[in-house]
Amino acid sequence: MMLIMRVSHRGIEGPGRLDVTGSQKKYTHPYRALALVLAAVLCLTAVTVAVSYLDLGAFKITAALTIAAAKATLVLLFFMGIGKTGKAIPITFITTIVILAVFIGLLFFDIAYR
């Protein structure tokens, strides 16, 4: 968990200071991990372009959006550090997505049966 209070600064050691010696800082990743994530999302981009040329019929857009969701998940987890500062952000983020999904679901309950 991250420290919230900083009661002193400018060279004064003490319990209020963020400990940076040796250990991983809060929600940071080494550059190599970030580069690996970039390679992964670039690969997934190539995959989604390749898949778009396959004849999948109705499944085409589902496949494209699934791959897009995977890429977005990687960006959210590793570039944005979504899980790293407590549970409030992941919970509220998923709530937002669920609300959007409900909107889409209710929309199709309507228009799919017109």
């Binding site: 670039l42 494209a64 590793f78 570039f79 409030a88 909107f103 929309l107 199709f108």
Partner: protein
Amino acid sequence: MRTGMSVHRDDVGARMGMWFFLYTEIMLFGGLFILYAAYYHRYADDFIAAGNQTELVLGALNTAMLLISSFAVAASVEAMGRKASKAAIILLSFAVILGAAFLFNKYLEWSRDFSNGFYPGSDLMVNGPKGQSIFFALYFVLTGLHALHVFIGMCLLCACIILTAKKRITGDRMVILENAGLFWHLVDVIWIFLFPLFYLLH
């Protein structure tokens, strides 16, 4: 020895506030994606035919550039956390340059579309299949709104570069940079979804 409380800071609140703003942005673009879903359902064939008109190569290039710029921003946050301000500034500048290249690509694409007769109110749109004009209406609104967000993101990143140079953003107080980074990543995530919907429909 305590020197007393400095100016009130609430990094947790600032971060959470930014995320909540991002949720409103998700709802904004989400609503437009819902429009796309509804009209794709209605005019699937027209959408696929119109999807053949978009420039896949430029779209893929744009996707790659935004992803790399997202990496650069994430790396700059990492660098700042390690007190490497110079590296952070270089990485942020690189991200801004990629953003500018993205916007330039968008200009090329739209110019090509306009010269081919794909613009709101053109002959092709008015007299062509209804689904096609709806596809392009959605295309221009969504990519246009997204491009505006890219521009805003670039302004935020430039502000972070200036603040870092002025030592107003340091390794110990970098929530402004983190929040600007979050906005930029969201712009990237939105494009991740825009790309297949408009460029991979063929």
